[in-house]
């Protein structure tokens, strides 16, 4: 069975009473263990699509099935990583990572232990009591990732996770995300990532879904058949990038 089935999903927003179609009849499937990248120009509704997949917002038409069951509310078997990090500035690193566990009713000792374990996993040991404002951008996003992973989701949704970071930091963090994804001790094995950087999509993903704009429709579904670990400078990856670029332009 597929992990995720997207069936003819459309989304219309109301802008001052005028209906604005954002997504139109999008269908695809995601298998467990896949790394999917959603690319498209700005305004293609890729972030909206990600939120529909996660159950944060309902589609206007169509439906999303998770393990064969239609999603009606937030999928608690998935977690989200944001471009803006979306860390609660009034909570410490530990408080942020614990929050999802607290919501799931973990007693205090258990959630503290688990949270610390994931903070170590992203290499932030020693920063448990720091507030987000005291951290650099890269460290903030590590907290964001730790917070998402701490609830042990099957599916990780990432919304332009590296866009707000400087190029060097984002390179390093990409590698780390790939390592976490390949780490068998982690429950998370399926990732859907939204990005507008084609090279990033091609370098990281098993499949790249290309969206067009106004309204967003699925124009291509391109498997990246390159063995891992990949080399950023691999000319084959460049060919993929060029192909996707011509689809979007």
């Amino acid at each position: 069975m597929d992990l995720l089935e997207v069936e003819k999903v459309s989304k219309v927003f109301n802008q001052n009473g005028v209906p604005m179609p954002v997504l139109k009849e999008i269908s695809f499937r995601v298998q467990e263990g896949e790394f999917i990248a959603l690319v498209g120009p700005s305004g293609s509704g890729k972030s909206t699509l990600l939120r529909i997949l996660n159950g944060l917002i309902p589609p206007t038409e169509g439906r999303v099935l998770y393990r064969g069951k239609a999603l009606h509310s937030v999928n608690l078997d998935s977690a989200m990583v944001f471009q803006s990090f979306a860390l609660f500035p009034w909570l410490t690193v530990l408080g942020n990572v614990e929050l999802g566990l607290e919501a799931r009713g973990f007693p205090i000792e258990a959630r503290r232990k688990k949270a610390i374990q994931f903070i170590e996993k992203v290499g932030l040991d020693g920063f448990e009591e720091a507030y987000p404002r005291e951290l650099s951008g890269g460290m903030k996003q590590r907290v964001g990732i730790a917070r998402a992973l701490a609830v042990e989701p099957k599916l990780l949704c990432m919304d332009e996770p590296f866009s707000a970071l400087d190029p060097l930091t984002s390179l390093a963090l990409r590698e780390e995300v790939l390592m976490l994804w390949e780490d068998k001790s982690m429950p998370v094995n399926t990732i859907i990532m939204v990005t507008h950087i084609i090279e990033e999509a091609v370098f990281m993903a098993d499949r790249v879904l290309v969206l067009s704009t106004h309204p967003g429709t699925l124009v291509a579904d391109i498997p990246i058949n390159v063995a891992r670990p990949r080399d950023r400078k691999d000319p084959v990856l460049n060919e993929y990038s060029d192909r996707i670029f011509s689809l979007m332009a």
């Binding site: 998935s78 989200m80 803006s84 609660f88 500035p89 919501a103 009713g105 917070r147 609830v151």
Partner: protein
Amino acid sequence: MFKDAKRRAVFGVTLLLLAGLAYAISRQLHFPTGKIELDTALSQLPYYAAYSLMRMLTAYFLSLLFSIFYGYIAATVPKAEGPMIAVLDVLQSVPILGFFPVAVFFFVNLFRGSQFGVEVASIVLIFTSMSWNMAFSTYESFKAIPNDLVEAADGLGVRGWLKFKKALFPICIPRLIYNSMMSWAGGWYFLIACEIIAIGSIRYHLPGLGSFLIESVESGEVWRTFYGLFVLILMIVLLDLFVWRPLSVWGEKFKYEFTTTATVPSTSFALQWYRRLRVARRWGRIKEIIGKPARALNPRRYFLPAGERLAQETRERVWIPLRRGLGYLLVGGIFLLIGWSFFLLIEGLAKPLPPEAGRIPGALLASFLRLGIAYLLALAWTVPVAFWVGENPRAFRIVTPIAEIGASIPATALFPFFILLAVHVLGGMNAAAVLLILTGMQWYLLFNLIGGVQNIPGDLKEAAKALGVSKWLYWRRLYLPAVFPALVTGSITAWGGGWNALIVSEYVVYRRETYAVNGIGAMLDRATYEAGDKQMMLLALITMVIAITLLNRFFWRKLYLYAVERYKIDY
């Protein structure tokens, strides 16, 4: 367009409702008799101070609860938002002191002439002076929660109380603290005012600092008045140093910003003390000890997952219809109230107008002129001082603490002195009234202007200086335009304060003699305290509210929009 019309309708209806209610409440009531004696012995002073403080605290906590509740509902229930904000708008622009006599009548009668009624009335008055800006701040903060944060909480499955506590409410804290400080300062003004207000020939005294001040002046013991004033200022300064400062520094950690700007972190020595205290460090442990039995009582602990789901289903099935029903009931009740007060209003106004009614326009004009003169006086000293302070860091360091203390003295506490001045030195009430109004206006202007000057970007100043601009041109081309928006905001609050001050400034009782000038505030006072003429009282109140509303709508708001559009500095 439609939304605007609806807002305006709600605005008008609320005005009507208030006026009608005020009338309805005061209609059949009479002055209860009885006088509460006040002892002005110095040994009583700490007791009075404690009494005043308790009154302030009670009103403040009520305001805090109200503002969080009101702001949250207005920000999260789309249908309620428009009406609730319009109502808040009216309440904010109404001169609260004008309603004080009405409130006293109501509560004194409700509690059968006991002192408790006056007590409740004073707390209600202080509450009404504190709440509105706090409610606005929570509403705006809840509205401004970044969508990402809400989605992060939802995505993690954070719901209910946990979501409110950890994800939503903290965003209000910085602005809520700031507005609490403003409200607290304003609260003193009203606290003192309502302690010294006399009703007719019978004087109700609430034991407190305000009563102490007025009573000691009247008995000619001026040195006692100074003691009273000293205690008041001491209390205000101590509270500022040990409560509000540390709170506002602590509150900065709740600010949400994308970029980290390099600003000098503000400090509070008191906060550092508290942090060094063991209590603070052991807070987590203490919370645990207290929290353990509470958690054991939480029914959720004993729900199996299935039970939890069942509970949620019940909640959805029962709570949603229940909430809708309550909503309908509320709307129905409001309509009934509107109808009732409208009826009473017509009834109250339908009587042949008393002869004094013809003097209302003249009185309004006189009051307006008084306000205008006080405003010009305030401008005349605040604009140069703000400029001087804004340009010289040294002056800033000297003037700010002085101005802060000056502003923290509730102007009403100085009224006894001004009365002495008016009676013995100035020989006339008119000059004194203008001075009294001035004390209610000037600080708003000063602080807004200083803020405005400091917000002028340094490179603009440097650019002007590098161009060799003369002093006069510098004023005309940079300083005045740059502070214009701050000037307008300051003016709006100053006029709001001024209208309130009118009621206590134009009509003063001193040693059983009345000193009054011709004005709308005095007219309102006279109608309530002397004649007990409900119709005149209503007319004066309505006239005042309408004048303020019209002035706000057609002058200040337009000016504000113009100022923001034309003179706002943003790159």
